[in-house]
Symmetry: none
Subunit: 229 residues, 4 copies
């Protein structure tokens, strides 16, 4: 058929695009109202399709949310892998992780909302849902810490498993505060990233022979008087 001429925008492609429109609509709606308070008909309207159409692409409302978790997390995960691929130094990779995390947030705050609020809910209340992609994502952080230990840069008494969650929690909470606050105003996301990473790294790094100051971690000073919120 004509639509198959270039082999790309056939039936399947049209289908994929409509599905994507629904997912994007759902992200906006869930971010606005929360999963529980969002109606399927809201998503349908936002996506410009009929209610019933949703069910041609998803099993049910919960499936939409899980799809968001899975597919969007996969994209984010791919992006993170790409970003880390270019960096060899394990310490720098930790910093890149943090910057990447906040960068995603800034680009798609609605998606960030959904992840932060609903994923947390879902971890407990969707029976058996295991956010494996999230674990993969965080495993990259844990690896970087381990690599740092193997390279003798990070203290041996640091537990990579615990610190992974600790750093993630710190980033996540700051993310929530950024999202919740009048977004762009008083909260400087870059400063937050720098601060937290600096403190974590200083806290994790092995003392070096040449003094208490630890290279990269302390390099980019900022004026602490310029309060952030």
């Amino acid at each position: 058929m004509a639509s198959d001429a270039n082999g790309v925008s056939g039936r399947a492609e049209a289908r994929r695009q409509k599905r994507e429109r629904i997912v994007e609509a759902a992200i906006r709606v869930f971010a606005r109202n929360g999963f529980g308070a969002s109606r399927v008909s809201d998503i349908a309207r936002e996506a410009g399709v009929a209610d019933g159409t949703i069910y041609l692409y998803f099993q049910n409302k919960e499936d939409i949310l899980l799809t968001i978790f899975e597919e969007k997390m996969a994209e984010v995960l791919d992006g993170l892998r790409a970003a880390l691929d270019e960096v060899d130094d394990p310490i720098e990779r930790i910093a890149v992780f943090a910057r990447y995390h906040f960068e995603q947030l800034r680009r798609n705050p609605a998606l960030a909302q959904v992840f932060q609020v609903e994923l947390r809910q879902s971890r407990r209340f969707f029976r058996g849902y295991r956010p494996e992609r999230l674990w993969d994502y965080l495993a990259l952080l844990e690896s970087a810490i381990r690599d740092g230990q193997a390279a003798g840069r990070i203290r041996e008494d640091v537990d990579p498993f615990l610190l992974k969650w600790g750093l993630f929690g710190a980033l996540d909470e700051l993310a929530i505060q950024w999202v919740v606050s009048r977004k762009r105003d008083r909260f400087d996301l870059d400063r937050a990233a720098v601060q937290v990473v600096e403190v974590f790294l200083r806290g994790m790094l092995r003392p070096t022979l040449d003094g208490p100051e630890h290279g990269s971690a302390s390099s980019n000073h900022q004026d602490p008087k310029r309060r952030s919120a």
Copy 2:
């Protein structure tokens, strides 16, 4: 009557006790199912009262949740204040904060569930609800950081506001992991507290003249081989 003699267990006291029973029941039910999926009749059954009785003590289902936030947070806040009162050293107070936070969690995991999952939801979806008690709670942490800076112990380039949220986030995320995991098994809450506080403190403390090692922060070594989860 005898029960009125000491003026304690009168009618008002009985009322207070029943109200408390409902609150405690609600905490268990919300922790189990989440706020949205909890039925008022579940709470009533758990509390051993009739459905209608709930409404003699609370306006509606949401009011129960907000009451939990307010009253339980007030108790926790009082406890934190008492714990911090005994400590002068600002650095030690930060460590006490972390230990106290986890201690509450261990004592009342169901309450912790509700706070971590539902409060986070509520911050966004109960229009206008402002968890002021939580802010008071965290303000004590921010104060300790500022005091540490004033005493010349904590670096000046640290932003107390950002670090407050960062440390809280780290603790909170580890708390969730502890709660979510098969609770008592593989996750050592004490080690987690020690690790995170150590890293944060080391990262925040000013370098001392006598070398890169910072006294208290690094004092309680543990074997990192004993993995935590």
Copy 3:
């Protein structure tokens, strides 16, 4: 006992008074909100008693309403009988009926509300309730019409049964309009009574030999320019 000394205000008398207080409170509450929207606890509060006390005096909520119908109607009926006893002329008795009807209304508008609105409901929806007192009340009107016919004053082709309901309906509707309108303002209840009675009587009376004007019915002219509402 001391309270029985005068034989009047003993236990029984106190009981009677409290019961009366409840009835009066119920009239006010029903008039305000309607029977359906009135809560038993509203009546209790209005009467200054506890909810449970109501049930020491009445079977249930419906019983209060029926009691109002029965007892208050009995009082009104007694009053009407007394008023009619003093009048021999059947035509005049019809006029007295109308004046008495409106007089009651003016004196106790709340009671009138309850009768007009709730009795009408109840005639249909309280299974088997037969407002016999109301029928007795109206029977006095029907008798007067019959007496007028027997005396040759009222036309033979008038059906007393139908005219009874017709006149009652006319009075009742005007009563509702009076009650519903901003009560004392624009609606002159006396004029309404005069108008309706005049028209009905003129319409029912036999033509007399001395001309088209019918004695009493046309005696109290009023300026029709002074509109009533």
Copy 4:
């Protein structure tokens, strides 16, 4: 499709029909049980639809009742206007009004029930509901009376506003009695109409020169011995 050919039974038409079915069902149910005692599910069953379907057509239960008031009264009002259009003589128009009123009643007793009982309730208890259609309906009666006065046929000392309500009340009360009584049995609605109109007209008409008998009003005698109830 064939059904769309004439543009009548399209989707919109189907919608309109289902809506009408619900309205008609509600009239029957309200007439049977009263508004308060009627369950939405009763209406749904009577209409042969699911409970939820009701809410695709009406906001809530009260909205159904108000719709009945508005739409059915509009129909009745149109019918009255048509009936009066054919009559010039103001006196005759009053008689037509009465006959039309009873005719509607006879045709749709359930609707009459709802109007007589629930509208009366509603006039007081649905805050702010103003039965404007009813006022329009009655305004036609008032106009006829005024026209009769302007034509010198009706006495000047008659207040059209009061008589409008009076006549309406008389008709309405007789209507209720007819509806309440075992309907077709003992109560002759036609006789009632004739009687009341005759009396009212005789009472309102100006005396003519040629004697006390007033043409049309007294023309259709009936045997008063044939009691009506």
